[in-house]
Amino acid sequence: MAKRPFDIQAQPGFGFMALLTFFALYLPIAALVTYSFNTADSLSRWDGVSLRWFISAWHNSAVQDASVRSLVLAVSAAALSTIAATMAALATTRTRPYPGLTFKYAFINQPLMVPEIVTGVALLIVFSRIKVWTGYSGLGYLIAAHTAFCIPFAYLPIRARLESMDLTLERAAADLYATPWKAFRFVTLPLLRPAIIAGFMLAFVISLDDVVITEFVKSGGQDTLPTYMLGQLRRETSPEINAIATVFLALSVVLVTAFYFVNRRKP
């Protein structure tokens, strides 16, 4: 010990604590994935490795339904929220402060401030009334709810990117007789594209992961993959849930990795 050069960054025990934390972060996930390959009928036994439960989940029509609904919902909500967030970001950056600007920031970020359960019951109250009045109980309610809470997430990277861009190039375009729309289409939009993709992906993941608000807004028979899993967890669970969770997990990891690379490649 005494011979080692004095390391000013070292703190006794911190390395150990950190490695323990990383171990604890990944141990439950490892257990979940391991058990998805279990052959046995229940989680209490281990009968060897097979893909039995993946195959059974694949053929389960409730799982198929829920997966398709989750994807349709996530794509719609991510697309709508990214469009709305891009417009809002253009309206709230690169300007002198104007009346209402602070209000807009606060309003756009409002969904982040309120606990999901509160938003969930609030939407239950309002949407259950509207469902009775209009007789419509389709996917529209879920798309509206998801779009609203995805907007602040999509807004985040787009606003950040816009704030690092000045108006020089747009002014140059205007000098060369570009209309505002053309300047946007051929100058701003290409520069903004990585941030828009990042915003879309964030919104997509957030929508795909949501369980609380969906649970309160959905009509009968409108399970998404997370609410389906939540419903199954009430019963004695079979490794099929593990198999579904493992596939979901793999999808999340792929998305996060993709997001990471999109975000890192800054022009």
């Binding site: 989680l43 756009i108 359960i117 019951v121 849930i241």
Partner: protein, 306 residues
């Protein structure tokens, strides 16, 4: 003839109008599917519960009264509702413990990451980010695999001969606490890491030159400098813990409810929407208090450092 000033004023007015139009879709969607319904919750908290759920449009403060009190069914006297008080207490105390324990594990972890060489640092950050973006329900379920009676912990302890009967962790407050620590840990590590990354280690070196010990350097130099990160992390952990719903539902079983589950109960089997609305607003007020505390402290500590 319009003067130059008038033209400029007119242009500015038009620009502001365009900016409002441009932000309108986002504002309208959020108003319709987030902010607006919250106002309705306030109204509902002052109405009378309907017999099969929903409400009857008759003003009543009973919803608010029964947040903390209950009326005796025989003599109509008011007493504190012990069941609700214990749920409030569980929510607040478990959130507090979660914050303290995530800080206990998160701080050394953030420190560890920040002191790695830049290349491997990215990998460590990425390893924290992956669980952060993984579905909360899946992580809760993963925790269940570890602590259930036939789970990893009990199997290991029994195989080692330390215990004979499995420990009953599932469906206890401890299970909720483990789940919340596990799930919210990345929210503590990431902001602390963000302020740690900017830490100038020459200050630490100066501390050692002045004969400070390791603990003194940690307490007097490092900790004050990364305080904004610690406060941000604590708020990011405390607020979602307070409103937790999925974790207590899956790990705590039916008996160990937190505020989120109490709210759901009123809109489900409890059939008392006004009470559910009143508890929701109470929860929101608790969150706002925590946020105000954060805003006050965050601006205070920035002022202190220049």
């Amino acid at each position: 003839m319009a003067s130059a000033e008038q033209v400029a004023e007119e242009a500015e007015r038009r620009e502001i109008r365009d900016r409002w139009l441009l932000s309108a879709p986002a504002l309208i969607i959020i108003f319709l599917a987030a902010s607006g319904p919250l106002l309705i919750v306030v109204i509902y908290s002052f109405l009378t519960p309907g017999p099969y759920g929903d409400v009857v449009w008759k003003f009543s403060t009973d919803g608010w009264l029964s947040v903390l009190m209950q009326r005796d069914i025989f003599d109509d006297t008011l007493a504190f509702a012990d069941a609700h008080l214990s749920i409030f207490w569980r929510s607040i105390s478990l959130s507090f413990y979660t914050t303290v324990l995530t800080l206990f594990f998160g701080f050394p972890t953030a420190y560890f990451i920040a002191t790695r060489p830049p290349k491997t640092r990215e990998v460590w950050v990425f390893l924290v980010t992956i669980p952060f973006w993984t579905n909360l329900l899946i992580r809760t379920f993963a925790m269940q695999q570890v602590i259930r009676n036939e789970g990893l912990v009990n199997t290991a302890l029994m195989a080692l001969g330390i215990i004979k009967q499995p420990l009953q962790i599932m469906n206890t407050d401890a299970a909720i606490l483990f789940g919340m620590i596990y799930i919210y840990l990345p929210l503590m590590v990431l902001p602390i890491y963000a302020s740690m990354e900017k830490l100038d280690f020459r200050l630490v070196e100066a501390g050692y030159d002045l004969y400070a010990g390791r603990w003194q350097v940690l307490r007097r130099i490092i900790f004050p400098l990364i305080k904004p990160g610690v406060i941000a992390g604590s708020i990011l952990v405390f607020i979602p813990s307070l409103g937790a719903y999925v974790i207590p539902r899956v790990l705590g079983g039916g008996k160990n409810m937190m505020l989120g589950n109490l709210i759901e109960l009123q809109f489900g089997a409890g059939r008392n929407w006004p009470l559910g609305a009143a508890i929701s607003i109470t929860l929101m007020v608790l969150v706002m208090i925590a946020l105000l505390f954060y805003v006050r402290n965050a601006s205070g500590s920035q002022g202190a450092h220049g």
